[in-house]
């Protein structure tokens, strides 16, 4: 019956689900409790109490990165259709690298990010498969690995409060450098023979990224660069007057 908790709105569950599930595990649940939960869920939809706190701007970044990915990808597909177009390679590389901007801080975490992670891995696969010289694939792969590992370490350093200058140097070094390398390396990855397949597969793929990006922007998505939210900082309790 604890599945009834899923009837509550997402925002409410973000705040209270864990403790409510803990409570439900501590006592046998009766039919009356189940009805009470359903009523509570209905009330939570009609009169939302657990409103999302004001969202830090950093929570928008993963969504923006994903949205940019989708747009870059669609632009690349549009360019592939043009026989004389040569920008598709650059766009695809840019899209792949943009995907990875969000990976270290967000997509390696659970829930919806699993979808984004799978799509990101798919993007990498496409880029690597279409990279005719394997030496180029190896370079891209190494760049991606350095970005993910370096980016993750940088984000962790930011979260740990390491000096601002060092943080930004790390951030630039681990995120921007692979981006630049990736864009340069990805030049010339797609030939005209793959154009039709790219349109059939690539367009829905790009649209999927756009939708996920919009969803992430609207909902926000905590990253590991955000410090933990302090709790218990409200007004101090005092004794009840006699």
């Amino acid at each position: 019956m604890s599945r009834l908790v899923h009837l509550y709105p997402r925002t409410w569950r973000d705040r209270y689900e864990a403790e409510l599930l803990d409570l439900l595990e501590q006592r046998p649940m009766s039919l009356r409790d189940a009805i009470d939960l359903v009523r509570g869920a209905l009330d939570a939809h009609l009169h939302p109490q657990a409103e999302r706190e004001s969202m830090p701007w950093t929570h928008r970044l993963p969504g923006l990165a994903v949205l940019a990915t989708g747009l870059f990808w669609i632009a690349a597909i549009a360019t592939v259709r043009d026989p004389s177009g040569t920008d598709a390679d650059r766009f695809l590389g840019l899209a792949a690298m943009t995907v990875l901007l969000g990976l270290p801080g967000d997509y390696l975490m659970p829930f919806g990010r699993r979808i984004a992670t799978a799509l990101g891995i798919g993007a990498l696969g496409v880029i690597l498969v279409f990279s005719t010289p394997w030496s180029v694939s190896v370079v891209v792969f190494l760049g991606v690995v350095s970005l993910i590992l370096g980016g993750t370490l940088t984000m962790a350093a930011i979260r740990a409060g390491i000096g601002a200058t060092t943080r930004w140097r790390l951030l630039i070094g681990t995120l921007v450098a692979p981006l630049v390398v990736g864009v340069v390396v990805s030049m010339g990855l797609v030939d005209e023979a793959t154009g039709r397949l790219a349109v059939l597969v690539g367009l829905p793929y790009g649209l999927a990224w756009v939708l996920i990006g919009v969803r992430l922007i609207v909902r926000g998505s905590p990253t590991i660069i955000d410090p933990p939210t302090p709790l218990g900082t409200g007004p101090v309790a005092r004794e009840i007057p006699a």
Binding site: P235, A237, I240
Partner: protein, 107 residues
């Protein structure tokens, strides 16, 4: 029930129980539930409990403390203590008046 409890609708009475339960120290959800059941003899449903907790927290009458595993204790805020004291005083007067009138009627 007077303000701010009046606006809580069906959660007004559970909210009062919760504030009373928290008046002698922080408690998590299950502890509040069992405490209220001991005080009133009636169980507080989980949906009602968390509906009331959410309302009290939003109004600043209680606050959440650091979670202990999945349990999150709540405690009364200064505003919550003041509100509870005023509410209990109001009820005390109401009870006294009722008893006096009842006593007069019996005579």
């Amino acid at each position: 029930m007077t303000q701010p409890f009046g606006e809580l609708g069906r959660f007004a009475e559970p909210s009062l129980y919760i504030l009373v339960s928290l008046s002698n120290g922080p408690k998590h959800g299950y502890a509040i539930m069992t405490d209220v059941e001991q005080m009133t003899g009636a169980p507080l449903g989980p949906g009602t409990l968390y509906g009331a907790l959410a309302r009290l927290e939003r109004r600043g009458l209680i606050e959440a403390l650091e979670p202990e595993d999945r349990r999150r204790p709540y405690r009364l805020t200064g505003a919550g203590a003041t509100t509870l004291a005023a509410q209990l005083a109001h009820l005390e007067g109401f009870v006294r008046t009722g008893l006096e009138r009842l006593g007069g009627g019996i005579k």
